[in-house]
Amino acid sequence: MGHERVAIVGLGQTKHAPTRGDVSMAGLVREAASRALADAQMTWQDIDAVVVGKAPDFFEGVMMPELFLADALGAVGKPLFRVHTAGSVGGSTAIVASQLVAAGIHERVLTVAFEKQSESNAMWALSMPIPFQPPLHAGAGGYFAPHIRSYMRRSKAPDHIGILVALKDRLNALKNPYAHLHNHETTFDSIKDSIMLWDPIRFDETCPSSDGAFAIVFGSEKVGDEAAAQGRAPAWIHGTSMRSEPTMSADRDTVLPLGGALCAKDVYRQAGITDPRRQVDCAEIYVPFSWFEPMWMENLLFAEPGDGWRMTEDGATALDGDLPVNMSGGVLSTNPIGASGMIRFGEAAMQVRGQAGEHQVDGARLAVGHAYGGGSQFFAMWVVGSEKP
């Protein structure tokens, strides 16, 4: 494909928390962006353009917040983009920003994604009364629980798989200082005994509500080479892909969506991956409810259809497994909705740069970042590597 190589030269995130009362929305994004710039050893003046992503504006009730955030992001007088793709937006935003470099338009691009859930009511926002429809849903859980039930039925997976996923992710989060949840007392039984919120989803199998932001600095090949020469190894983008599909479609598979598989196939093709399970070293994927780990293992072609849950049960997705998944603790431990996709993408890049600290996968060279959104209808993925593509 005729495009420039893109390097990831700076990564930064906030400490994620239920309420970041110490910072405004502008302070939150600035915290992540400042850290990414410091990591890239750049200043605000070095940045050519800024790309901002967050979940729908009605979550916080601030319309087009990118406009008032321009100051805090050093974007005044520079091109400023906003990306909207519901829950997958953090991933899509990173992809859009990377494409400004891939297309040769800019040399250094900053991207930031965020959510300040403490200033919003996402549960309400996702359950808004729509004219002429019964007000029945109870947040995202009420929508996705039937999909999970359908997966359990078709795969015949045992009931404890969801608990195992939640336990793994919550324990991984203890190794990540930026994670929102650090529940040291979590055990298999404590998850099992937690209240069944949206049967079959237990309280401890759901994501929290977080304030947080993640930022990435992209550079051209020249910028990446310079960073490498100074001993700051970049991550290189090997492929990016986005897909979407209509939610209200008669033949739609809500459990293993067609769009998700096509997105995976496309990104693997770009990265030269023919056997994802063997070739990918680790993955950060969007798992807001525990059962989405086995579902996405199948949808992202890591497991045969119906067998995704066996990867969880066998420990393949654990930090010391053959395909570690959500080493950071995942969305189950940290969920600033708009940022959640970019955290997945950014954590994948941290792995191949060897900067993931205690949750580092030894020798990770090729990693997948994944996000989905809406009613399982928007998909974004990238493959990043320690070597140039």
Binding site: P134, P135, L136, H147, R149, M196, D199, M248, P305
Partner: protein, 184 residues
């Protein structure tokens, strides 16, 4: 910087960290032709879906187009007010604006003659007896209360009929395996 000193009477008061500012908006909603036909049917205890042509998928509620064929759904098709449960959720959490007593069940219900499940409330059945494949019927409000709104159906309740085998698209074989784009 000048130090800011609170008056003595305020020094022990808990700091304000946030304020709630409820907002509301009044607006008119125009449902469009497809939804209007559907809602007018509901007001007469009829559930009217739509399709592109005979043999095409029947959409309930109709949105004016078939997303797979990319064509307008110009043909009206009345479907049943009975259906089969294809999946469900037992809700144990109350939420802002919700009026149901918990626990309650919401179901994805495939009405007889329709190809697209709708979500609605299931009542008159203990939550632990709800199951995929069970047959359900709509419970309508009294004639005097009928209107062009889904609230004209109070909920669905079990029918005294044997369960049906339900099939969710992709259940036996993921759709992508047969997709042209995937196999390129």
């Amino acid at each position: 910087m000048t130090e800011i000193l609170l008056p003595a009477r305020l020094q022990d008061v808990e700091a304000v960290r946030s304020v709630r500012t409820p907002a509301s908006i009044q607006y008119s909603y125009t449902p469009g032709q497809a939804s209007s036909r559907y809602l007018k049917g509901i007001a007469q205890r009829k559930i009217i879906g739509a399709r592109v042509e005979p043999g095409a998928k029947v959409y309930v509620p109709p949105r004016g187009a078939d997303p797979q064929l990319g064509k307008p759904t110009t043909e009206q098709v009345e479907v049943g007010d009975r259906g089969t449960l294809v999946s469900f959720c037992v809700v144990n959490v109350s939420f802002h604006g919700g009026t149901q007593e918990i626990p309650y069940t919401t179901g994805n219900i495939l009405l007889d003659g329709s190809d697209q499940p709708i979500m609605h409330l299931i009542q008159e059945c203990p939550v632990d007896q709800v199951r995929i494949g069970m047959r359900l019927e709509a419970v309508w409000v009294d004639d005097a209360d009928l209107g062009p709104t889904m609230e004209s159906i109070r909920w669905f309740r079990p029918l005294d009929e044997p369960d049906l085998d339900v099939h969710i698209p992709g259940e036996d074989r993921p759709l992508w395996l047969d997709s042209e784009e995937f196999n390129q």
